[in-house]
C-alpha cells in the first residue's frame, strides 16, 4: 500500500487551526448544553403544567430529530426567517446545544428521581424550602450519580462537532476534507484525523470515569 503522509505535514498548521476550533466548539457546546439542560430538566420536574408540557415536547422532538438536520435547519431557516446572515460557527453551537441539552435534561431528571424520597421528606421536616432541598440535598447527590452519563454526553458532543463540517464550520473534519480533496490522500488524512479525535476524547472520558470512581460514595443515599 502506497501511503504518503507528507500532505499532512505540509498542512499541519491548517489542521491545527481546525483542531483548535473543534475544541472551542466542543467546550462551548458542552457548557451551554449543560446550562440549558439543567434549566430544562428542573423546569420539567418542578415547573407549572403548561411549562412541563412544552419542555416534554422540546425534549422528545430533539431526541427524534438527527443533529445533522437540526444544524442544517438552523443554518438555512434562521436567516430566511430573521433576514439576518448567520455565521456557521454560531449555527453549529446553537444547533448542538439545543440538541444535546435535551439529553442532559433527561439525565438530570433521572439523577434527581433516583434519590430516595425519604431525603426530600427529611428536608421538609426540618423546614427547608423546595428550592433549598433541590440545591442542598438532591443536586449534590444526583450530580455524582449522573457523572457516567455526563461523560458519555461530553464525548458525543465532541464527536457531534464533526457534523458541523456540513455547514462549513472550519473545524478539524472540514479542514481534513480540504486537505484530502487537494492531496488525493483520503486514507492518510482521515486515519490521522481519527487518531486525533481519539487522543482528544479518550482522556476526557477516562478522566470523568476516574473522577467518578473517587467520588461515587458521595452519591449513595
Amino acid at each position: 500500500m502506497d501511503l504518503d503522509f507528507s500532505p499532512l505535514i505540509d498542512s499541519w498548521r491548517f489542521l491545527a487551526s481546525g483542531l483548535g476550533l473543534t475544541i472551542l466548539l466542543s467546550v462551548a457546546a458542552v457548557v451551554c448544553s449543560f446550562v440549558l439542560g439543567l434549566a430544562v430538566g428542573l423546569g420539567r420536574m418542578y415547573g407549572p403544567g403548561w411549562l412541563r408540557a412544552l419542555l416534554v415536547f422540546y425534549i422528545d422532538s430533539m431526541r427524534a430529530i438527527p443533529v445533522f438536520v437540526v444544524l442544517v435547519w438552523i443554518y438555512f431557516a434562521v436567516p430566511i426567517i430573521s433576514g439576518r446572515s448567520f455565521d456557521p460557527f454560531w449555527a453549529a453551537l446553537i444547533g448542538i446545544t439545543i440538541h444535546v441539552a435535551a439529553y442532559v435534561a433527561e439525565v438530570i431528571r433521572a439523577g434527581i428521581t433516583s434519590i430516595r424520597r425519604g431525603q426530600i421528606q427529611a428536608g421538609l421536616a426540618i423546614g427547608m424550602s423546595g428550592a433549598q432541598i433541590v440545591r442542598k440535598i438532591l443536586l449534590p447527590q444526583a450530580t455524582v450519580r449522573m457523572l457516567p452519563a455526563f461523560g458519555s454526553i461530553v464525548s458525543v458532543t465532541i464527536k457531534d462537532t464533526a457534523i458541523a463540517a456540513v455547514i462549513a464550520v472550519p473545524e478539524l473534519m472540514r479542514q481534513a476534507e480540504t486537505v484530502a480533496g487537494q492531496s488525493y490522500r483520503p486514507i492518510e488524512v482521515f486515519t490521522t484525523v481519527m487518531v486525533i479525535y481519539f487522543l482528544v476524547i479518550f482522556p476526557v472520558t477516562r478522566l470523568i470515569d476516574r473522577f467518578y470512581g473517587r467520588v461515587a460514595f458521595l452519591g449513595r443515599s
Binding site: 442544517v72 446572515s85 484530502a180 480533496g181
Partner: protein, 277 residues
C-alpha cells in the same frame, strides 16, 4: 504666435499619444440600479462562498500566504475592486454551496460549479472554463484493464460510484443504465477515490482536469478514455464557473461582461494551476 488651428492640432496629437502610451483599463460600468449591487455597496463587502476545487479555486493549507487563489478567486477580486468593496470569503460545503445563494448568506458562490439542467433552474452561472468527464478505476481490475471505451462499463456486474448531488450524478444515471450504481456522500475529494481503492466500486467519474493531479498522486489507476491521459474526453462536456441567485438580470449582465474581459487572464491562470497540480 502659434495659430489657434495649430494649437488645437498639437493638443489633439498630444492626447492621442498619451492615450496610446498608457493602456487604459476599460472597467465595465457598475449597474447601480441593481438591488444586489446596492446591498453590496451599502454593506461594504462582497460575500463569496468558497470551497476548494482545484484548479479553479485553490485553498492554501500551508498556514502562510494568501488563503485563496485560482481563476475563480481572481475574478472575484476583480468584481470587488470594481464595486469598491472588500472581498469576504465565506466557507461553504458541497451541501450548502447552492442553497446559500437563495438564503442570501453569500452574494455569489465562487466554488466552481458545473452547469447542469437542475442547477440552471435555481441559479445563474458566470462561466469561465469548460471541462468534461473521464471514468477511472484500479488498473489491476480486469474490468478496467480490458476496457477500451466508456461503453464497456455499461453492463451488469459493473459497479459505478458517484457523489450524490454532484454534477456527474445525472450523467452516471443516464450513461450507465445497465450497471449497478452506488451513490456516496462527498468526502471532499474530486471523486470518491476511496470507493475505488476499497474495491467497493469498479469505476467512478472524475472531471478530466483533477484527473491529471490524481493520476500523479495516486498510483495504480487507469482512466478511460485513455487518449492524451483522458484530456480529449468529450463525455458530458460542461461549462464551469461561479453562480448567483436567480432574478438578478442587471447584476448578471455586468458580471458576465467583466468575465469576458478577464477571460484570457483566467484561462492563463487555469493552465498555470493545472501545471502545478
Amino acid at each position: 504666435m502659434p495659430s489657434l488651428e495649430s494649437s488645437v492640432l498639437a493638443l489633439t496629437l498630444a492626447a492621442c499619444i498619451a492615450t496610446l502610451a498608457s493602456p487604459v483599463k476599460a472597467d465595465e460600468a457598475v449597474p447601480i440600479n441593481s438591488p444586489r449591487v446596492q446591498t453590496i455597496q451599502k454593506a461594504g463587502v462582497f460575500r463569496v462562498g468558497v470551497l476548494a476545487n482545484p484548479p479553479w479555486l485553490v485553498e492554501n493549507t500551508s498556514g502562510s500566504g494568501e488563503q485563496w487563489s485560482g481563476p475563480g478567486w481572481t475574478l472575484a477580486k476583480e468584481y470587488a475592486r470594481l464595486l469598491g468593496v472588500k472581498l469576504q470569503p465565506i466557507a461553504v460545503s458541497h451541501e450548502t454551496k447552492v442553497p446559500v445563494l437563495a438564503s442570501n448568506q453569500v452574494d455569489m458562490t465562487i466554488s466552481p460549479l458545473s452547469v447542469t439542467p437542475e442547477r440552471l433552474k435555481v441559479i445563474d452561472f458566470i462561466t469561465y472554463s469548460a471541462t468534461s468527464l473521464c471514468v477511472f478505476g484500479r488498473a489491476d481490475n480486469p474490468k478496467v484493464a480490458n476496457a477500451k471505451s466508456i461503453d464497456d462499463f455499461n453492463k451488469e456486474g459493473v459497479i459505478v460510484a458517484y457523489y450524490t448531488g454532484g454534477g456527474e450524478e445525472h450523467w452516471v444515471k443516464t450513461r450507465f443504465p445497465n450497471a449497478t450504481l452506488r451513490g456516496v456522500s462527498t468526502a471532499g475529494t474530486a471523486a470518491p477515490v476511496e470507493e475505488i481503492m476499497g474495491k467497493r466500486a469498479d469505476i467512478t467519474p472524475i472531471n478530466r482536469i483533477p484527473w491529471v493531479a490524481l493520476n500523479k498522486k495516486v498510483k495504480g489507476l487507469k482512466a478511460v478514455p485513455e487518449s492524451n491521459n483522458c484530456q480529449d474526453s468529450k463525455e458530458m462536456g460542461t461549462d464551469v464557473g461561479s453562480a448567483i441567485d436567480k432574478n438578478q438580470p442587471e447584476f448578471l449582465a455586468w458580471l458576465k461582461a467583466v468575465e469576458m474581459r478577464m477571460q484570457p487572464e483566467l484561462t492563463a491562470e487555469e493552465i498555470r494551476a493545472i501545471d502545478k497540480m
